[in-house]
Amino acid sequence: MSADAKVYIKGRAADAHEAHHHVMPISTYLKVFGALMVLTVLTVVVSYLDLGPLALGVAMLVAVIKAAAVIGYFMHLKFDTRFHTFVFLSTLLFVAIFFTLTFFDLKTRDMMNQTWDSHAYARDAGLDQKPALRDTRPLTAEEIEHLKTHGHH
């Protein structure tokens, strides 16, 4: 009866005890750790170079490689049943849908405004103006007044 309950490894039926016995040598763990350290140094170095718009892509690529090493080896997904890989990859699929649809919305709003001729309204109302940053705009008269009464000299 017990033999009816199947355990699957890499998509094929396996002996119930086989699931316990994939032991990786310690040297593999150390190599993965070494690779993660090298990639961490690489990310830090890259952040000091002036790569412009490429910087985000490079940083994310390095992070994805690091994540793959952690998932594949430390989390054993490479040697685990394929169904766990399926669960993991389908999560990423839904995250991708979440990100893609949100950015479709955000990035096409301006287009909609122009199409429907409401861009002029947004501009007149100051809605298309991004708020100025602390370091790039002078203090307003009200703020100076506020600091004169509440600030310290």
């Binding site: 316990h20 430390f74 685990d80 999560t91 995250v95 600091l147 509440h150």
Partner: protein, 246 residues
């Protein structure tokens, strides 16, 4: 009526658990609703991976918020991120990846029946997790001291030499407080996960001392390990996005 009743009882007593509750044949860790250890382990690990999936979905909302803020205010994010301490962030990255290594080695030690080794690997993992939280505490206190808090709590020191005034101003819409809102939400939720992880690893270590795990049964060590690696995984993305990206 009575025949049906007897038939039902017979069905319950027979075959429902395969080996018909012969306790001598049960390993002590095997719950009665599983047929064998392999099935129990598969169920536990599938459950853990599904839980990790929900964790990723939860964090993905915060990552999306980060990318939306970044895409709307790229200059602000670039300026604000310079206020984070890259060195402390890098130290924490190394500490967390090292703790992931020792956690993986603790699982391996349990796999190979090395209980004493498992103890030391788990202890190092806990110490690394605590180091991470100490560094985080140092970073948070510096941020709080400088008034770089999220939303309406943002009150950074400003001065206008021409007008001869200085002091703190809050409610600067679109300013750094947006970045620090994201920073505190993401690192805060991650920090809570580290604290929970410390608790879980202490529990595993205690059970390991009591001799609960062996090469026959170490699923809880493995599942806590999976959780801990996920905490590491999220930090692998948080570090470049918050501390480094130019």
């Amino acid at each position: 009526m009575s025949t049906a009743h007897v038939g039902h009882e017979a069905a319950l007593g027979h075959d429902a658990h395969g080996d018909g509750h012969d306790h001598a044949a049960h390993p002590p860790h095997l719950r009665h609703h599983f047929d064998n250890s392999g099935q129990q382990e598969s169920a536990a690990k599938l459950g853990m991976w599904i839980f990790l999936a929900t964790e990723l979905l939860m964090f993905s909302g915060l990552f999306l918020a980060y990318f939306v803020v970044r895409s709307n205010y790229p200059e602000m994010v670039l300026e604000a991120h310079e206020r984070l301490d890259k060195i402390l962030g890098a130290i924490n990255t190394v500490v967390l990846i090292f703790s992931s290594l020792t956690m993986a080695l603790a699982v391996r030690a349990s796999q190979t029946n090395q209980r004493v080794q498992a103890r030391w690997y788990l202890l190092v993992t806990i110490l690394c997790a605590m180091t991470f939280m100490v560094v985080k505490y140092m970073e948070y206190s510096a941020k709080i001291e400088h008034g770089t808090l999220p939303g309406r709590f943002y009150a950074e020191h400003v001065q206008d030499l021409a007008a001869g005034v200085e002091g703190t101003l809050d409610r600067w819409y679109g300013g750094y407080q947006l970045f620090f809102g994201i920073y505190f939400a993401m690192t805060g939720l991650h920090g809570i996960h580290v604290l929970v992880g410390i608790g879980l690893i202490i529990w595993i270590m205690w059970k390991n001392e009591k001799g609960a795990y062996s090469s026959e049964y170490y699923t809880p060590v493995e599942n806590v390990g999976l959780y801990w690696h996920l905490v590491d995984l999220i930090w692998i993305f948080l570090f470049p996005l918050l501390y480094l990206v130019k």
